[in-house]
Symmetry: C2
Subunit: 292 residues, 2 copies
Protein backbone atom coordinates (compact mmCIF):
# COMPACT_ATOMS: atom_id res chain seq x y z
CA UNK A 1 0.00 0.00 0.00
CA UNK A 2 1.36 3.39 -1.04
CA UNK A 3 0.32 6.14 1.36
CA UNK A 4 1.24 9.11 -0.82
CA UNK A 5 2.35 8.78 -4.44
CA UNK A 6 4.10 11.67 -6.14
CA UNK A 7 3.89 11.42 -9.93
CA UNK A 8 6.45 13.72 -11.54
CA UNK A 9 5.28 14.05 -15.14
CA UNK A 10 1.58 13.21 -15.44
CA UNK A 11 1.29 11.72 -18.92
CA UNK A 12 0.56 8.27 -20.33
CA UNK A 13 3.20 6.50 -18.22
CA UNK A 14 2.77 8.40 -14.95
CA UNK A 15 -1.00 8.69 -15.24
CA UNK A 16 -1.43 4.99 -15.96
CA UNK A 17 0.55 3.97 -12.87
CA UNK A 18 -1.64 6.19 -10.69
CA UNK A 19 -4.81 4.82 -12.28
CA UNK A 20 -3.62 1.23 -11.96
CA UNK A 21 -2.77 1.60 -8.24
CA UNK A 22 -6.07 3.32 -7.59
CA UNK A 23 -7.96 0.55 -9.34
CA UNK A 24 -6.50 -2.12 -7.04
CA UNK A 25 -6.84 0.13 -3.99
CA UNK A 26 -3.10 0.25 -3.42
CA UNK A 27 -2.67 4.01 -3.10
CA UNK A 28 -3.89 6.70 -0.71
CA UNK A 29 -3.26 10.18 -2.07
CA UNK A 30 -1.78 10.97 -5.47
CA UNK A 31 0.05 14.27 -5.95
CA UNK A 32 0.81 15.25 -9.54
CA UNK A 33 3.66 17.50 -10.58
CA UNK A 34 4.38 19.06 -13.94
CA UNK A 35 4.75 22.32 -15.80
CA UNK A 36 1.53 22.52 -17.78
CA UNK A 37 -1.45 23.70 -15.72
CA UNK A 38 -4.15 22.56 -18.21
CA UNK A 39 -2.75 19.02 -18.24
CA UNK A 40 -2.63 18.83 -14.44
CA UNK A 41 -6.16 20.20 -14.11
CA UNK A 42 -7.30 17.63 -16.63
CA UNK A 43 -5.60 14.95 -14.52
CA UNK A 44 -7.51 16.10 -11.42
CA UNK A 45 -10.74 16.20 -13.41
CA UNK A 46 -10.14 12.65 -14.66
CA UNK A 47 -9.47 11.48 -11.10
CA UNK A 48 -5.92 10.41 -11.97
CA UNK A 49 -4.40 12.67 -9.29
CA UNK A 50 -5.91 14.28 -6.19
CA UNK A 51 -4.02 17.56 -6.35
CA UNK A 52 -1.03 19.08 -8.06
CA UNK A 53 1.90 21.43 -7.71
CA UNK A 54 4.45 22.78 -10.16
CA UNK A 55 7.17 22.38 -7.54
CA UNK A 56 8.98 19.03 -7.51
CA UNK A 57 10.30 19.60 -3.99
CA UNK A 58 6.81 20.21 -2.64
CA UNK A 59 5.43 17.21 -4.58
CA UNK A 60 7.87 14.72 -3.04
CA UNK A 61 7.93 16.22 0.47
CA UNK A 62 5.62 13.72 2.16
CA UNK A 63 5.58 10.98 -0.52
CA UNK A 64 6.52 7.40 0.35
CA UNK A 65 6.66 6.61 -3.40
CA UNK A 66 7.99 8.96 -6.07
CA UNK A 67 7.46 7.99 -9.72
CA UNK A 68 9.52 9.98 -12.17
CA UNK A 69 7.85 9.87 -15.57
CA UNK A 70 9.35 12.93 -17.23
CA UNK A 71 11.23 12.79 -20.56
CA UNK A 72 14.84 11.61 -20.26
CA UNK A 73 16.02 15.14 -20.98
CA UNK A 74 14.20 16.45 -17.90
CA UNK A 75 15.40 13.81 -15.41
CA UNK A 76 18.44 15.66 -14.09
CA UNK A 77 16.52 18.83 -13.24
CA UNK A 78 13.83 16.76 -11.55
CA UNK A 79 16.44 15.09 -9.32
CA UNK A 80 18.05 18.46 -8.59
CA UNK A 81 14.67 19.86 -7.57
CA UNK A 82 14.08 16.93 -5.18
CA UNK A 83 17.29 17.63 -3.27
CA UNK A 84 16.59 18.19 0.42
CA UNK A 85 12.88 17.40 0.04
CA UNK A 86 12.76 13.61 -0.07
CA UNK A 87 11.54 11.73 2.98
CA UNK A 88 14.32 9.56 4.40
CA UNK A 89 12.56 6.29 3.63
CA UNK A 90 11.06 7.39 0.29
CA UNK A 91 11.12 4.92 -2.56
CA UNK A 92 11.94 6.49 -5.92
CA UNK A 93 11.51 4.79 -9.26
CA UNK A 94 11.21 5.99 -12.84
CA UNK A 95 10.02 5.08 -16.32
CA UNK A 96 12.99 6.20 -18.42
CA UNK A 97 13.81 4.09 -21.48
CA UNK A 98 17.58 4.32 -20.95
CA UNK A 99 18.92 3.52 -17.50
CA UNK A 100 22.60 4.51 -17.25
CA UNK A 101 21.75 8.13 -17.97
CA UNK A 102 18.97 8.28 -15.35
CA UNK A 103 21.31 6.88 -12.72
CA UNK A 104 23.96 9.45 -13.67
CA UNK A 105 21.31 12.19 -13.55
CA UNK A 106 20.28 11.07 -10.07
CA UNK A 107 23.88 11.12 -8.83
CA UNK A 108 24.47 14.56 -10.30
CA UNK A 109 21.10 16.05 -9.39
CA UNK A 110 20.74 14.69 -5.86
CA UNK A 111 24.45 14.38 -5.21
CA UNK A 112 24.19 10.69 -4.27
CA UNK A 113 22.32 7.50 -5.10
CA UNK A 114 19.72 6.96 -2.39
CA UNK A 115 19.09 3.37 -1.18
CA UNK A 116 15.42 3.92 -2.03
CA UNK A 117 16.14 4.59 -5.71
CA UNK A 118 15.13 1.68 -7.97
CA UNK A 119 15.63 2.61 -11.64
CA UNK A 120 12.98 1.04 -13.84
CA UNK A 121 11.57 0.83 -17.35
CA UNK A 122 8.09 -0.35 -18.28
CA UNK A 123 8.17 -1.81 -21.80
CA UNK A 124 5.02 -0.30 -23.25
CA UNK A 125 4.23 1.50 -26.47
CA UNK A 126 4.53 5.25 -26.55
CA UNK A 127 2.52 5.98 -29.69
CA UNK A 128 0.00 7.90 -27.62
CA UNK A 129 0.86 10.43 -24.95
CA UNK A 130 -0.71 12.72 -22.39
CA UNK A 131 -2.79 12.00 -19.33
CA UNK A 132 -5.92 11.57 -21.45
CA UNK A 133 -4.31 8.53 -23.08
CA UNK A 134 -3.56 6.93 -19.69
CA UNK A 135 -5.56 3.94 -18.49
CA UNK A 136 -5.33 1.53 -15.56
CA UNK A 137 -4.70 -1.58 -17.67
CA UNK A 138 -1.65 -0.21 -19.53
CA UNK A 139 0.77 -2.35 -17.52
CA UNK A 140 -1.24 -5.54 -17.42
CA UNK A 141 0.86 -8.43 -18.73
CA UNK A 142 3.58 -5.99 -19.80
CA UNK A 143 7.20 -6.33 -18.80
CA UNK A 144 8.90 -3.99 -16.36
CA UNK A 145 12.68 -4.05 -16.18
CA UNK A 146 14.26 -2.91 -12.92
CA UNK A 147 17.97 -2.12 -12.87
CA UNK A 148 18.98 -1.69 -9.20
CA UNK A 149 22.19 0.22 -8.49
CA UNK A 150 24.82 -1.00 -6.01
CA UNK A 151 23.27 1.37 -3.49
CA UNK A 152 19.69 0.15 -3.95
CA UNK A 153 18.35 -1.41 -0.73
CA UNK A 154 16.90 -4.92 -1.18
CA UNK A 155 13.64 -3.96 0.50
CA UNK A 156 13.22 -0.94 -1.80
CA UNK A 157 13.68 -3.23 -4.79
CA UNK A 158 11.13 -5.70 -3.42
CA UNK A 159 8.68 -2.90 -2.71
CA UNK A 160 8.88 -1.58 -6.29
CA UNK A 161 8.49 -5.09 -7.65
CA UNK A 162 5.37 -5.57 -5.54
CA UNK A 163 3.92 -2.26 -6.74
CA UNK A 164 4.36 -3.17 -10.41
CA UNK A 165 2.97 -6.66 -9.82
CA UNK A 166 -0.07 -5.06 -8.21
CA UNK A 167 -0.59 -3.30 -11.56
CA UNK A 168 -0.57 -6.66 -13.32
CA UNK A 169 2.93 -6.36 -14.78
CA UNK A 170 5.70 -8.94 -14.97
CA UNK A 171 8.91 -7.70 -13.37
CA UNK A 172 12.47 -8.63 -14.36
CA UNK A 173 15.76 -7.53 -12.83
CA UNK A 174 18.63 -6.70 -15.16
CA UNK A 175 21.99 -4.96 -15.00
CA UNK A 176 22.00 -1.37 -16.20
CA UNK A 177 24.38 -2.16 -19.07
CA UNK A 178 22.38 -5.16 -20.18
CA UNK A 179 19.15 -3.15 -20.17
CA UNK A 180 20.68 -0.44 -22.30
CA UNK A 181 21.98 -3.03 -24.79
CA UNK A 182 18.75 -5.00 -25.03
CA UNK A 183 16.72 -1.84 -25.53
CA UNK A 184 19.20 -0.51 -28.06
CA UNK A 185 18.60 -3.69 -30.08
CA UNK A 186 14.84 -4.05 -29.79
CA UNK A 187 13.64 -0.47 -29.60
CA UNK A 188 16.23 2.24 -30.17
CA UNK A 189 17.80 0.68 -33.28
CA UNK A 190 14.46 0.01 -35.04
CA UNK A 191 13.44 3.62 -34.42
CA UNK A 192 16.71 4.84 -35.95
CA UNK A 193 16.13 2.61 -39.00
CA UNK A 194 12.63 3.96 -39.52
CA UNK A 195 13.56 7.61 -38.95
CA UNK A 196 16.61 7.14 -41.19
CA UNK A 197 14.63 5.51 -43.99
CA UNK A 198 11.91 8.14 -44.09
CA UNK A 199 14.48 10.92 -43.87
CA UNK A 200 16.59 9.41 -46.65
CA UNK A 201 13.57 9.15 -48.92
CA UNK A 202 12.30 12.61 -47.97
CA UNK A 203 15.63 14.08 -49.03
CA UNK A 204 15.66 12.36 -52.41
CA UNK A 205 14.56 14.35 -55.39
CA UNK A 206 11.03 13.48 -56.46
CA UNK A 207 10.23 12.37 -52.92
CA UNK A 208 6.56 13.20 -53.48
CA UNK A 209 6.42 10.57 -56.12
CA UNK A 210 8.38 8.04 -54.12
CA UNK A 211 6.04 8.24 -51.15
CA UNK A 212 3.06 8.01 -53.46
CA UNK A 213 4.01 4.45 -54.37
CA UNK A 214 4.58 3.28 -50.85
CA UNK A 215 2.21 0.42 -50.03
CA UNK A 216 0.94 -1.10 -46.80
CA UNK A 217 4.22 -2.71 -45.78
CA UNK A 218 5.96 0.66 -45.87
CA UNK A 219 3.24 2.18 -43.72
CA UNK A 220 3.68 -0.44 -40.98
CA UNK A 221 7.43 -0.36 -41.26
CA UNK A 222 7.67 3.39 -40.84
CA UNK A 223 4.92 3.85 -38.24
CA UNK A 224 7.53 4.38 -35.50
CA UNK A 225 9.04 7.24 -37.54
CA UNK A 226 5.95 9.20 -36.44
CA UNK A 227 7.15 9.00 -32.83
CA UNK A 228 7.93 12.11 -30.80
CA UNK A 229 11.23 13.59 -32.13
CA UNK A 230 12.13 15.24 -28.79
CA UNK A 231 11.68 11.98 -26.90
CA UNK A 232 13.87 10.15 -29.39
CA UNK A 233 16.55 12.81 -29.37
CA UNK A 234 16.65 12.39 -25.59
CA UNK A 235 16.90 8.60 -25.87
CA UNK A 236 19.80 8.85 -28.35
CA UNK A 237 21.60 11.32 -26.13
CA UNK A 238 20.94 9.05 -23.13
CA UNK A 239 22.11 5.78 -24.71
CA UNK A 240 24.80 6.73 -27.23
CA UNK A 241 27.27 3.90 -26.68
CA UNK A 242 25.02 0.85 -26.85
CA UNK A 243 22.96 2.39 -29.64
CA UNK A 244 25.83 3.44 -31.90
CA UNK A 245 27.47 0.02 -31.42
CA UNK A 246 24.24 -1.71 -32.34
CA UNK A 247 23.99 0.53 -35.41
CA UNK A 248 27.52 -0.35 -36.52
CA UNK A 249 26.69 -4.02 -36.10
CA UNK A 250 23.58 -3.55 -38.22
CA UNK A 251 25.38 -1.49 -40.86
CA UNK A 252 27.88 -4.34 -41.27
CA UNK A 253 24.98 -6.80 -41.71
CA UNK A 254 23.40 -4.53 -44.34
CA UNK A 255 26.71 -4.16 -46.21
CA UNK A 256 27.01 -7.94 -46.38
CA UNK A 257 23.43 -8.21 -47.61
CA UNK A 258 24.01 -5.53 -50.27
CA UNK A 259 26.99 -7.41 -51.63
CA UNK A 260 25.08 -10.72 -51.63
CA UNK A 261 22.38 -8.97 -53.66
CA UNK A 262 24.96 -7.50 -56.06
CA UNK A 263 26.43 -10.99 -56.50
CA UNK A 264 22.95 -12.41 -57.14
CA UNK A 265 23.53 -15.21 -54.61
CA UNK A 266 19.96 -16.52 -54.41
CA UNK A 267 20.76 -19.43 -52.10
CA UNK A 268 22.35 -17.17 -49.52
CA UNK A 269 19.45 -14.70 -49.75
CA UNK A 270 16.92 -17.49 -49.25
CA UNK A 271 18.85 -18.66 -46.20
CA UNK A 272 18.84 -15.19 -44.61
CA UNK A 273 15.20 -14.44 -45.36
CA UNK A 274 14.06 -17.84 -44.13
CA UNK A 275 16.02 -17.49 -40.88
CA UNK A 276 14.54 -14.03 -40.33
CA UNK A 277 10.98 -15.13 -41.08
CA UNK A 278 11.31 -18.15 -38.79
CA UNK A 279 12.68 -15.98 -35.98
CA UNK A 280 9.97 -13.40 -36.33
CA UNK A 281 7.15 -15.91 -36.58
CA UNK A 282 8.53 -17.81 -33.59
CA UNK A 283 9.46 -14.98 -31.27
CA UNK A 284 7.15 -12.15 -32.14
CA UNK A 285 3.91 -13.79 -33.09
CA UNK A 286 4.57 -16.86 -31.02
CA UNK A 287 4.32 -17.60 -27.32
CA UNK A 288 7.81 -16.47 -26.35
CA UNK A 289 6.91 -12.81 -26.44
CA UNK A 290 3.93 -12.91 -24.17
CA UNK A 291 4.68 -13.07 -20.44
CA UNK A 292 2.02 -15.67 -19.69
Amino acid sequence: MVRQLAVIGVGLIGGSLARALRQVGEVGEVVGCGRGKPNLEKAVELGVIDRYTHDVGEAVERADLVFLAVPLGAMKNAFTDMKGHLAEDAIITDGGSAKRSVIDDCKEGLGYLPPGFVPGHPIVGTENSGVEASFPELYQNRRIILTPTEETAPDALERVEAIWRACGAEVTRMSVEHHDEVLAATSHLPHMLAFGLVDALARMKENDEIFRYAAGGFRDFTRIASSNPVMWRDICVANPVALSEMMEHYIAEMSDLASIIRDGDGDKLLEIFTRAKDARDRYIDGALNSPE
Copy 2:
Protein backbone atom coordinates in the same frame (compact mmCIF):
# COMPACT_ATOMS: atom_id res chain seq x y z
CA MET B 1 -14.44 -6.38 -72.76
CA VAL B 2 -12.04 -9.33 -72.56
CA ARG B 3 -13.30 -12.33 -74.51
CA GLN B 4 -10.94 -14.91 -73.04
CA LEU B 5 -8.58 -14.21 -70.16
CA ALA B 6 -5.69 -16.53 -69.44
CA VAL B 7 -4.42 -16.20 -65.88
CA ILE B 8 -1.00 -17.78 -65.54
CA GLY B 9 -0.52 -18.25 -61.80
CA VAL B 10 -3.88 -18.29 -60.03
CA GLY B 11 -3.11 -16.76 -56.64
CA LEU B 12 -3.98 -13.53 -54.84
CA ILE B 13 -2.87 -11.28 -57.72
CA GLY B 14 -4.12 -13.34 -60.67
CA GLY B 15 -7.28 -14.50 -58.92
CA SER B 16 -8.23 -10.98 -57.89
CA LEU B 17 -7.92 -9.63 -61.44
CA ALA B 18 -10.23 -12.38 -62.69
CA ARG B 19 -12.73 -11.73 -59.90
CA ALA B 20 -12.63 -7.97 -60.46
CA LEU B 21 -13.25 -8.28 -64.20
CA ARG B 22 -16.07 -10.76 -63.61
CA GLN B 23 -17.67 -8.43 -61.10
CA VAL B 24 -17.90 -5.60 -63.62
CA GLY B 25 -18.90 -7.96 -66.41
CA GLU B 26 -15.78 -7.22 -68.42
CA VAL B 27 -14.68 -10.79 -69.11
CA GLY B 28 -16.07 -13.78 -70.99
CA GLU B 29 -14.19 -16.97 -70.21
CA VAL B 30 -11.34 -17.26 -67.70
CA VAL B 31 -8.76 -20.00 -68.17
CA GLY B 32 -6.43 -20.64 -65.25
CA CYS B 33 -2.98 -22.14 -65.54
CA GLY B 34 -0.64 -23.37 -62.84
CA ARG B 35 1.16 -26.38 -61.49
CA GLY B 36 -0.87 -27.27 -58.43
CA LYS B 37 -4.07 -29.17 -59.18
CA PRO B 38 -5.74 -28.60 -55.77
CA ASN B 39 -5.29 -24.83 -56.08
CA LEU B 40 -6.73 -24.76 -59.61
CA GLU B 41 -9.69 -26.92 -58.60
CA LYS B 42 -10.29 -24.59 -55.69
CA ALA B 43 -10.23 -21.67 -58.14
CA VAL B 44 -12.90 -23.35 -60.28
CA GLU B 45 -14.96 -24.14 -57.19
CA LEU B 46 -14.75 -20.48 -56.08
CA GLY B 47 -15.81 -19.32 -59.54
CA VAL B 48 -12.55 -17.44 -60.08
CA ILE B 49 -11.76 -19.37 -63.27
CA ASP B 50 -13.96 -21.41 -65.61
CA ARG B 51 -11.47 -24.14 -66.41
CA TYR B 52 -7.80 -24.88 -66.11
CA THR B 53 -4.80 -26.47 -67.72
CA HIS B 54 -1.25 -27.12 -66.57
CA ASP B 55 0.04 -26.19 -70.03
CA VAL B 56 0.87 -22.51 -70.56
CA GLY B 57 0.78 -22.89 -74.33
CA GLU B 58 -2.71 -24.34 -74.21
CA ALA B 59 -3.88 -21.67 -71.74
CA VAL B 60 -2.88 -18.75 -73.96
CA GLU B 61 -3.87 -20.33 -77.29
CA ARG B 62 -7.17 -18.49 -77.76
CA ALA B 63 -6.76 -15.73 -75.15
CA ASP B 64 -7.10 -12.07 -76.09
CA LEU B 65 -5.65 -11.13 -72.67
CA VAL B 66 -2.88 -13.00 -70.88
CA PHE B 67 -2.12 -12.05 -67.28
CA LEU B 68 1.14 -13.42 -65.96
CA ALA B 69 0.98 -13.57 -62.19
CA VAL B 70 3.66 -16.13 -61.43
CA PRO B 71 6.62 -15.44 -59.10
CA LEU B 72 9.44 -13.46 -60.72
CA GLY B 73 11.59 -16.58 -60.72
CA ALA B 74 9.05 -18.41 -62.91
CA MET B 75 8.53 -15.66 -65.52
CA LYS B 76 11.13 -16.79 -68.03
CA ASN B 77 9.80 -20.34 -68.24
CA ALA B 78 6.27 -19.03 -68.63
CA PHE B 79 7.33 -16.89 -71.61
CA THR B 80 9.24 -19.82 -73.09
CA ASP B 81 6.15 -22.00 -72.79
CA MET B 82 4.02 -19.38 -74.58
CA LYS B 83 6.25 -19.40 -77.63
CA GLY B 84 4.28 -20.24 -80.77
CA HIS B 85 0.97 -20.32 -78.92
CA LEU B 86 0.03 -16.64 -78.54
CA ALA B 87 -2.70 -15.22 -80.75
CA GLU B 88 -1.26 -12.52 -83.00
CA ASP B 89 -3.28 -9.72 -81.43
CA ALA B 90 -3.04 -11.01 -77.85
CA ILE B 91 -2.41 -8.50 -75.11
CA ILE B 92 0.01 -9.70 -72.43
CA THR B 93 0.56 -8.03 -69.11
CA ASP B 94 1.99 -9.13 -65.78
CA GLY B 95 2.11 -8.38 -62.07
CA GLY B 96 5.84 -8.71 -61.36
CA SER B 97 7.29 -6.34 -58.77
CA ALA B 98 10.49 -5.72 -60.74
CA LYS B 99 10.15 -4.77 -64.40
CA ARG B 100 13.55 -4.89 -66.13
CA SER B 101 13.89 -8.58 -65.33
CA VAL B 102 10.42 -9.47 -66.65
CA ILE B 103 11.15 -7.65 -69.92
CA ASP B 104 14.46 -9.50 -70.24
CA ASP B 105 12.68 -12.78 -69.47
CA CYS B 106 10.14 -12.07 -72.19
CA LYS B 107 12.84 -11.31 -74.74
CA GLU B 108 14.73 -14.48 -73.84
CA GLY B 109 11.72 -16.73 -73.43
CA LEU B 110 9.69 -15.64 -76.45
CA GLY B 111 12.67 -14.49 -78.47
CA TYR B 112 11.20 -11.01 -79.02
CA LEU B 113 9.14 -8.29 -77.33
CA PRO B 114 5.62 -8.48 -78.76
CA PRO B 115 3.79 -5.18 -79.40
CA GLY B 116 0.98 -6.54 -77.24
CA PHE B 117 3.23 -6.89 -74.18
CA VAL B 118 2.56 -4.20 -71.54
CA PRO B 119 4.69 -4.84 -68.42
CA GLY B 120 2.84 -3.85 -65.27
CA HIS B 121 2.93 -3.85 -61.49
CA PRO B 122 -0.08 -3.49 -59.19
CA ILE B 123 1.06 -1.90 -55.90
CA VAL B 124 -0.80 -4.06 -53.43
CA GLY B 125 0.21 -5.85 -50.27
CA THR B 126 1.32 -9.42 -50.50
CA GLU B 127 0.97 -10.48 -46.88
CA ASN B 128 -1.66 -13.02 -47.90
CA SER B 129 -1.38 -15.36 -50.81
CA GLY B 130 -3.25 -18.05 -52.71
CA VAL B 131 -6.50 -17.99 -54.65
CA GLU B 132 -8.54 -18.21 -51.44
CA ALA B 133 -7.15 -14.80 -50.43
CA SER B 134 -8.19 -13.21 -53.74
CA PHE B 135 -11.13 -10.81 -53.86
CA PRO B 136 -12.65 -8.52 -56.51
CA GLU B 137 -11.95 -5.27 -54.62
CA LEU B 138 -8.19 -5.84 -54.20
CA TYR B 139 -7.33 -3.27 -56.88
CA GLN B 140 -9.88 -0.63 -55.97
CA ASN B 141 -8.15 2.71 -55.43
CA ARG B 142 -4.78 1.00 -55.68
CA ARG B 143 -2.03 2.15 -58.01
CA ILE B 144 -0.95 0.18 -61.06
CA ILE B 145 2.34 1.11 -62.70
CA LEU B 146 2.71 0.24 -66.38
CA THR B 147 6.17 0.32 -67.94
CA PRO B 148 5.70 0.00 -71.72
CA THR B 149 8.71 -1.13 -73.77
CA GLU B 150 9.79 0.56 -76.98
CA GLU B 151 7.96 -2.19 -78.82
CA THR B 152 4.67 -1.82 -76.93
CA ALA B 153 1.83 -0.73 -79.25
CA PRO B 154 -0.08 2.36 -78.09
CA ASP B 155 -3.42 0.60 -78.40
CA ALA B 156 -2.19 -2.34 -76.29
CA LEU B 157 -1.11 0.12 -73.59
CA GLU B 158 -4.49 1.85 -73.70
CA ARG B 159 -6.30 -1.45 -73.55
CA VAL B 160 -4.41 -2.56 -70.43
CA GLU B 161 -5.01 0.81 -68.82
CA ALA B 162 -8.74 0.46 -69.49
CA ILE B 163 -8.78 -3.03 -68.01
CA TRP B 164 -7.15 -1.91 -64.76
CA ARG B 165 -9.42 1.13 -64.54
CA ALA B 166 -12.40 -1.18 -64.92
CA CYS B 167 -11.13 -2.89 -61.75
CA GLY B 168 -11.16 0.44 -59.93
CA ALA B 169 -7.41 1.03 -60.02
CA GLU B 170 -5.46 4.19 -60.79
CA VAL B 171 -2.95 3.66 -63.60
CA THR B 172 0.39 5.43 -64.04
CA ARG B 173 2.96 5.06 -66.80
CA MET B 174 6.62 5.02 -65.85
CA SER B 175 9.93 4.09 -67.42
CA VAL B 176 11.25 0.65 -66.53
CA GLU B 177 14.33 2.07 -64.80
CA HIS B 178 12.31 4.57 -62.81
CA HIS B 179 9.89 1.88 -61.66
CA ASP B 180 12.71 -0.33 -60.47
CA GLU B 181 14.26 2.58 -58.54
CA VAL B 182 11.02 3.78 -56.94
CA LEU B 183 10.14 0.25 -55.87
CA ALA B 184 13.65 -0.37 -54.58
CA ALA B 185 13.19 2.68 -52.34
CA THR B 186 9.65 2.15 -51.09
CA SER B 187 9.32 -1.61 -50.99
CA HIS B 188 12.46 -3.62 -51.64
CA LEU B 189 14.74 -1.62 -49.30
CA PRO B 190 12.31 -1.67 -46.33
CA HIS B 191 11.98 -5.42 -46.69
CA MET B 192 15.77 -5.78 -46.64
CA LEU B 193 15.96 -3.61 -43.50
CA ALA B 194 13.35 -5.70 -41.70
CA PHE B 195 14.78 -9.07 -42.77
CA GLY B 196 18.27 -7.80 -41.89
CA LEU B 197 17.25 -6.54 -38.46
CA VAL B 198 15.47 -9.72 -37.42
CA ASP B 199 18.30 -11.83 -38.78
CA ALA B 200 20.94 -9.75 -36.97
CA LEU B 201 19.08 -10.08 -33.69
CA ALA B 202 18.36 -13.77 -34.21
CA ARG B 203 22.08 -14.40 -34.64
CA MET B 204 23.06 -12.55 -31.46
CA LYS B 205 23.71 -14.60 -28.36
CA GLU B 206 20.79 -14.47 -25.93
CA ASN B 207 18.44 -13.76 -28.83
CA ASP B 208 15.59 -15.40 -26.89
CA GLU B 209 15.90 -12.71 -24.28
CA ILE B 210 16.27 -9.91 -26.79
CA PHE B 211 13.06 -10.79 -28.60
CA ARG B 212 11.27 -11.14 -25.27
CA TYR B 213 11.66 -7.41 -24.65
CA ALA B 214 10.50 -6.32 -28.06
CA ALA B 215 7.42 -4.12 -27.74
CA GLY B 216 4.66 -3.12 -30.14
CA GLY B 217 6.82 -0.85 -32.29
CA PHE B 218 9.17 -3.73 -33.06
CA ARG B 219 6.25 -5.92 -34.04
CA ASP B 220 4.95 -3.41 -36.59
CA PHE B 221 8.42 -2.62 -37.80
CA THR B 222 9.33 -6.23 -38.49
CA ARG B 223 5.97 -7.43 -39.80
CA ILE B 224 7.33 -7.46 -43.37
CA ALA B 225 10.13 -9.81 -42.24
CA SER B 226 7.39 -12.47 -42.15
CA SER B 227 6.98 -12.16 -45.92
CA ASN B 228 7.58 -15.08 -48.26
CA PRO B 229 11.37 -15.71 -48.43
CA VAL B 230 11.24 -17.25 -51.93
CA MET B 231 9.34 -14.27 -53.33
CA TRP B 232 11.88 -11.88 -51.81
CA ARG B 233 14.83 -13.88 -53.04
CA ASP B 234 13.34 -13.60 -56.53
CA ILE B 235 12.82 -9.84 -56.17
CA CYS B 236 16.43 -9.32 -55.04
CA VAL B 237 17.72 -11.40 -57.91
CA ALA B 238 15.43 -9.46 -60.31
CA ASN B 239 16.34 -5.95 -59.13
CA PRO B 240 19.96 -6.15 -57.92
CA VAL B 241 21.30 -2.86 -59.26
CA ALA B 242 18.68 -0.40 -58.04
CA LEU B 243 18.29 -2.26 -54.76
CA SER B 244 21.96 -2.53 -53.87
CA GLU B 245 22.47 1.15 -54.78
CA MET B 246 19.56 2.14 -52.57
CA MET B 247 21.05 0.03 -49.78
CA GLU B 248 24.44 1.75 -50.10
CA HIS B 249 22.69 5.11 -49.98
CA TYR B 250 20.86 4.05 -46.83
CA ILE B 251 23.98 2.57 -45.22
CA ALA B 252 25.71 5.94 -45.68
CA GLU B 253 22.74 7.69 -44.04
CA MET B 254 22.89 5.25 -41.11
CA SER B 255 26.65 5.73 -40.71
CA ASP B 256 26.13 9.48 -40.48
CA LEU B 257 23.37 8.99 -37.95
CA ALA B 258 25.54 6.66 -35.86
CA SER B 259 28.29 9.25 -35.69
CA ILE B 260 25.83 12.02 -34.80
CA ILE B 261 24.62 9.79 -31.94
CA ARG B 262 28.20 9.07 -30.83
CA ASP B 263 28.88 12.81 -30.84
CA GLY B 264 25.71 13.45 -28.84
CA ASP B 265 24.59 16.17 -31.26
CA GLY B 266 21.05 16.62 -29.98
CA ASP B 267 20.18 19.52 -32.29
CA LYS B 268 21.10 17.55 -35.38
CA LEU B 269 19.16 14.51 -34.14
CA LEU B 270 16.09 16.61 -33.47
CA GLU B 271 16.33 18.04 -36.98
CA ILE B 272 16.50 14.58 -38.59
CA PHE B 273 13.71 13.06 -36.50
CA THR B 274 11.45 16.05 -37.02
CA ARG B 275 11.97 16.00 -40.78
CA ALA B 276 11.24 12.26 -40.84
CA LYS B 277 8.12 12.55 -38.71
CA ASP B 278 6.82 15.44 -40.80
CA ALA B 279 7.41 13.53 -44.02
CA ARG B 280 5.74 10.41 -42.74
CA ASP B 281 2.75 12.22 -41.28
CA ARG B 282 2.36 14.23 -44.46
CA TYR B 283 2.91 11.60 -47.10
CA ILE B 284 1.85 8.35 -45.54
CA ASP B 285 -1.02 9.22 -43.29
CA GLY B 286 -1.95 12.29 -45.30
CA ALA B 287 -3.81 12.77 -48.53
CA LEU B 288 -0.86 12.42 -50.87
CA ASN B 289 -0.76 8.67 -50.59
CA SER B 290 -4.35 7.99 -51.50
CA PRO B 291 -5.16 8.18 -55.21
CA GLU B 292 -8.40 10.09 -54.74
